[in-house]
């Protein structure tokens, strides 16, 4: 488990990190918490010439209130930071709770929200939450930067909309609309504790008990986290009862092509789990909604 030799840089500002990234180009990899990158480097499945460690850039590690009343989370904030943030606990308690379910304590202490999203592991927990909570991802490049909507972010297995010269700097979690409940439910892989399948649901219910908005993010089932749009459509505009939940949840895997099929779960079982955890996430989100 000794990686191939590499150069190591530990910039202390985003500007310095961007300069290094420009100088080293394709030979460089950005290092966040390291829980995904370092293991594959140790196996020599990834052999970057150069690592740019973002861990000492303090401007990337913060959690604050955004202008719209939502959250602004620095990309290098750890799961531990998120789990223990009073602000997150108050505004989006399900996000704080989910951070406490990622991996184990060591992973929570080192792993970052930015690293998880940028790596886009097909079984990561946060991609599902990101879709359900409609994250906006703020990036920086040497020239400027941009904001990427989460729906346009996950492209394929371990592939995102981020460009090689771009650093993910901040995650914006929009303020939850009144009457919104959020929940994340997963079957953990007993070995890795990644999600075999995980489903995050954000459900908004009006005063009349009718579902006005629903966003469902599914992780683990396919090559990349996706929204269960069929499920969302069935929920929206309805008074959501057990029958509606069942009907909606049963469609949760309908738009997932290439279901993962591996040692840990067959495609058939993952498809089934997607419906089970969709139902559980919706039920729990509803219990917190309205």
């Amino acid at each position: 488990m000794i990686p191939q030799a590499f150069d190591y840089y530990a910039p202390t500002s985003v500007a310095d990190a961007l300069r290094l990234l420009r100088r080293h180009g394709d030979e460089a990899k950005l290092l966040a918490g390291g829980h995904s990158l370092l293991p594959i480097m140790k196996l020599r499945l990834s052999t970057p010439q150069c690592l740019i460690d973002l861990g000492r850039i303090s401007e990337l590690r913060f959690i604050s209130e955004a202008d719209d009343g939502g959250l602004a989370i620095g990309a290098m904030s750890t799961y531990h930071d998120i789990k223990n943030s009073a602000l997150v606990q108050e505004r989006v308690p399900a996000l704080a709770a989910a951070a406490g379910e990622v991996g184990d304590v060591q992973v929570q202490n080192k792993g970052t929200i930015g690293g998880s999203l940028a790596h886009a592991d097909p079984a990561g927990d946060f991609p599902a939450l990101a879709l359900a909570l409609n994250f906006e991802l703020v990036t920086a490049t040497a020239r400027s930067g941009r904001t990427i909507a989460i729906d346009r972010f996950f492209r394929d297995l371990l592939t995102t909309a981020l460009r090689p010269n771009e650093i993910l700097t901040e995650i914006r979690v929009p303020a939850l609309a009144a009457g919104t409940g959020v929940a994340y439910k997963k079957l953990p892989n007993k070995a890795s504790h990644y999600a075999v399948v995980g489903v995050a649901a954000a459900i908004t219910v009006g005063d009349d008990g009718v579902c006005t908005d629903a966003r469902i993010g599914v992780t683990g089932a396919g090559p990349t986290a996706v929204r269960a749009r069929n499920t969302e459509r069935i929920l929206k505009g309805k008074h959501v009862d057990a029958a509606v939940i069942r009907r909606a949840a049963n469609r949760a895997a309908a738009n997932i092509e290439d279901l993962n099929d591996d040692l840990h779960a067959s495609a058939e079982y993952r498809e089934h789990l997607t419906t089970v955890f969709a139902a559980r996430a919706i039920e729990e989100a509803l219990s917190r909604a309205g």
């Binding site: 000794i2 191939q4 030799a5 890795s192 840990h264």
Partner: protein, 793 residues
């Protein structure tokens, strides 16, 4: 030391002597050994399960920076005098010659092919990538049940087939038992291969002194003396020129019994480059370089009477030995039919054990070694009979128990059980669990459409190896040296080699009580063949039983001589002659009968033993005794376990709600150590039932090749274990101890398996293979229909 201050330590919760050292990072593990000028080696391993090696080009690696030497498998092998020795050869078995490395053909993924030694670990690792091996992949054998078929590729051409042995035998008259039976239950049971994962992976360091030809080998082993014997033979060295050191070893579970290729490679390379060398595997390497355990396919038929009596069994057991037999690995599967009768009186059993070679890493002992596979068979059979007869699993077991007045009891398979009272252990477990209430709760749960199961087992196992015949040439004794120094402090050298079990503590307790010295005055030394002359080692729950008794025997000699010396000292003090019979040792003081004020201490006796001015004329100086002790028979701990599980009907996930473990290991020296062994054992056995399995693809690649893919349990997945015990001393050793290292592992797997099947039994399910993963249970539920609200109870 004042009389009366010495408390009796045997049976008390003395804190582990070794913990301050281990917890504060002062342990001396093999990878902690640092020597001046040390070099490091890395091993290139075959990426193919079966491939001819047509050539190896090491030139680029040899030219790589900081590389001292690169040797191919052939070059290492030709520096060995002999191939690996094999012990306990079974009648009619055939096996391949095995050398440390693959030279012309690799037979499993991970078999060593070439080695690089360099001045740093990283340089050695980098150079591995520069070695070019010309492999010609060959057809692969992975399935144990068909491996010996005529149409399968033959791994070792000289053998003509992949069969190691096929051993059939019977006791009593199984055919008659089946003819007389009211019914027969049968099942195919799978024992997946498991990957032992001690906290410390393997490592080795070797140093070679050219001037003397002496070598020192630090190695992660459970048995340094066997390691010395094997390595010395293979290296063509006299044993007294090879020193093996294994002071702190971070767990073994059987996978550190074998002498591995890396030990031999280390000594050869140290000699070759004239520097000390080190190798330490990482976890990923461990998965393909350190032997695995279990791996059987079991065909079980059991004949029963409708009152629940087990009349007879017929067993056919396939064992996947992997590519080679090692040490006594091939014998381990034969323990399975030997222990198959379990705690029951069934006398008519027929069996066939078929050991085969496959293109997998060799199999070897893993906590329980052959006995978990037996306990699983018989305890599943008891539940199958309960299902078939409609009786409670507890009642079926009681019906078949060997009665407590039958001991010592010779089983039809030739084991002599030393002592037991199975009803007492079961009664206790049932009471703690509240069995009747649990059954009522289960009934109510089923009415509510929930899946709850209760698993019960009563098991036994064989341990405390020897006598000699029980280890097939490894030795059945243990050695002890007890030494009292001039300050009256005691040093104990043991040939056993504890590696986490805590015998530095339990042995010190025994000595403190027996000699009447303070616990703190006893030092226990093990794991260095230049200090401890001979020993067998730690495996098969033998350390306390055999090693502890050896210490007691050495103590007897010490006490005799010390009493004679004390008599001389007292005579001098009293200026009178004394009958030595009147001098007694009590609570650490040697005193004259009826004169409690006239005594001498261990320090006075120890001092005189070496000063010697007052010694009687026929007494030589020194106060040290050596003892070798071999037990007359084996020990058979037993246990009654109860597990309660719930199954999530939607996902198939099993959650363990309660676990009651009543174990009988005879005399308990330290309850904390015993409970530690039980906790760890339960974790492993439960992991086996629910999670663990090594998976290969058709190419012989290990798919579950890391802890990201091979699931081991986390502490958070367990309830608080509910422990209790009964105490039935063993008559085969003066301690009355039976050994507790493996009992809980052996029992836990069938207990949890029985609980899961019990949760599904009202749906018509009678057997599910382990590991009972969520998907496997979900699939069973798909086939058998799901429990519905108000369904059958």
């Amino acid at each position: 030391m004042i009389a009366g201050q010495v408390s009796k330590l045997i049976g008390s919760r003395v804190k582990r002597k070794e913990d301050p050292r281990l917890i504060t990072g002062e342990g001396k593990y093999t990878d902690d050994v640092m020597l001046p000028g040390m070099a490091y080696f890395a091993v290139l391993r075959s990426p193919y399960a079966h491939a001819r090696i047509d050539g190896i080009d090491t030139s680029a690696a040899a030219a790589s920076p900081d590389v001292l030497a690169v040797l191919t498998g052939a070059e290492i092998n030709e520096r060995c005098a002999e191939p690996f020795p094999l012990f306990a050869i079974l009648e009619g078995m055939q096996y391949p010659e095995r050398w440390p490395m693959a030279a012309t053909k690799a037979n499993y993924v991970g078999e060593p092919v070439a080695v690089v030694v360099a001045t740093s670990r990283a340089a050695a690792r980098d150079a591995l990538d520069l070695i070019e091996v010309d492999y010609e992949p060959l057809p692969v054998v992975t399935d144990m049940e068909t491996a010996a078929d005529a149409d399968q590729p033959v791994i070792f051409a000289e053998m003509g087939s992949n069969l190691c042995y096929e051993a059939s035998d019977q006791a009593g008259d199984p055919d008659r038992a089946f003819a007389e039976a009211d019914g027969v239950v049968e099942a195919r049971m799978e024992q997946p291969r498991l990957i032992p994962n001690p906290m410390e992976p393997r490592a080795t360091v070797a140093e070679y002194e050219r001037s003397s030809g002496n070598a020192t080998l630090w190695v992660t082993t459970q048995n340094p003396h066997i390691e010395r014997m094997v390595a010395a033979k293979m290296l063509g060295m006299p044993e007294n020129k090879l020193r093996v050191i294994a002071i702190d070893v971070g767990g073994g579970f059987g996978c550190k019994i074998n002498t591995y290729s890396e030990s031999l490679i280390a000594v050869i390379l140290a000699r070759e480059v004239n520097r000390p060398v080190k190798w330490a595997e990482d976890r990923t390497e461990h998965f393909v370089s350190t032997s695995h355990g279990r791996g059987q396919a079991q065909y079980v038929q059991a004949a029963y009477k409708k009152d629940g009596t087990l009349l007879g069994m017929k067993l056919k057991i396939y064992a996947d030995l992997g590519a080679y037999a090692q040490v006594i690995s091939h014998v381990i599967p034969t323990l399975t039919p030997s222990l198959a009768p379990g705690v029951y009186g069934c006398r008519d059993i027929g069996w066939t054990t078929i050991g085969v070679f496959t293109n997998k890493i060799p199999y070897d002992a893993y906590r329980g070694a052959g006995r978990p596979e037996a306990a699983y068979i018989i305890e599943r059979v008891m539940d199958l009979i309960a299902d078939a007869t409609g009786k409670d699993p507890v009642a079926v077991r009681r019906k078949n128990f060997i009665p407590k007045d039958a001991f010592p009891y010779e089983t039809p398979t030739g084991m002599v059980y030393d002592s037991a009272d199975y009803d007492a252990a079961l009664d206790k477990a049932l009471e703690i669990a509240g069995y009747d209430d649990l059954r009522a709760e289960q009934k109510a749960a089923r009415k509510d459409g929930k899946l709850m199961g209760i698993g019960v087992t009563v098991t036994t196992e064989v341990c405390g190896f020897g006598p000699a015949a029980s280890t097939g040439g490894l030795g059945g004794f243990e050695s002890a040296t007890v030494r009292v120094d001039p300050m009256g402090k005691v040093t104990v050298l043991t040939g056993a080699s504890p590696h986490g079990q805590g015998e530095e503590t339990s042995f010190a307790q025994i000595v403190a009580d027996d000699l009447g010295v303070p616990f703190e005055d006893v030092e226990v030394i093990h794991g260095d063949t230049s200090i401890v002359a001979r020993g067998v080692g730690t495996f098969g729950s033998r350390t306390l039983v055999v090693g502890g008794t050896a210490i007691l025997k050495a103590n007897e000699q010490i006490k005799d001589k010390a009493t004679r010396i004390a008599t001389a000292l007292l005579e001098n003090k009293l200026e009178d002659t004394l009958d030595p019979q009147l001098v007694t040792l009590e609570d650490g003081l040697f005193s004259v009968q009826d004169m409690p004020d006239q005594y001498v201490t261990w320090a006075e006796v120890g001092s005189e033993a070496y000063d010697g001015q007052l010694l009687p004329e026929d007494e030589q100086p020194g106060l040290e005794a050596v003892s070798f002790w071999e037990p007359p028979g084996l020990t058979f701990p037993f246990s009654a376990h109860i597990a309660v599980v719930e199954i999530d009907q939607d996902t198939g996930e099993v959650s363990l709600k309660r676990y009651v473990s009543v174990d009988d290991c005879g005399t308990v020296i330290n309850p904390t150590l015993v409970e530690g062994q039980i906790h760890g054992g339960l974790a492993q056995g439960i992991g086996q039932a629910l999670l663990e399995q090594a998976v290969w693809d058709e190419e012989g690649q290990l798919v579950s090749g890391s802890l990201m893919d091979y699931a081991m349990p986390f502490a958070q997945e367990f309830p608080m274990f509910e422990l209790d015990r009964t105490v039935t001393p063993s008559p085969v050793n003066p301690l009355g101890a039976k050994g507790i290292g493996e009992m809980a592992t052996i029992s836990a797997t069938p207990t949890v398996a029985n609980a899961v099947v019990d949760a599904l039994s009202h749906l018509g399910v009678t057997h599910v293979d382990i590991p009972m993963t969520a998907e496997r249970i979900w699939r069973v539920l798909q086939t058998h229909g799901r429990s519905r609200r108000g369904g059958r109870s």
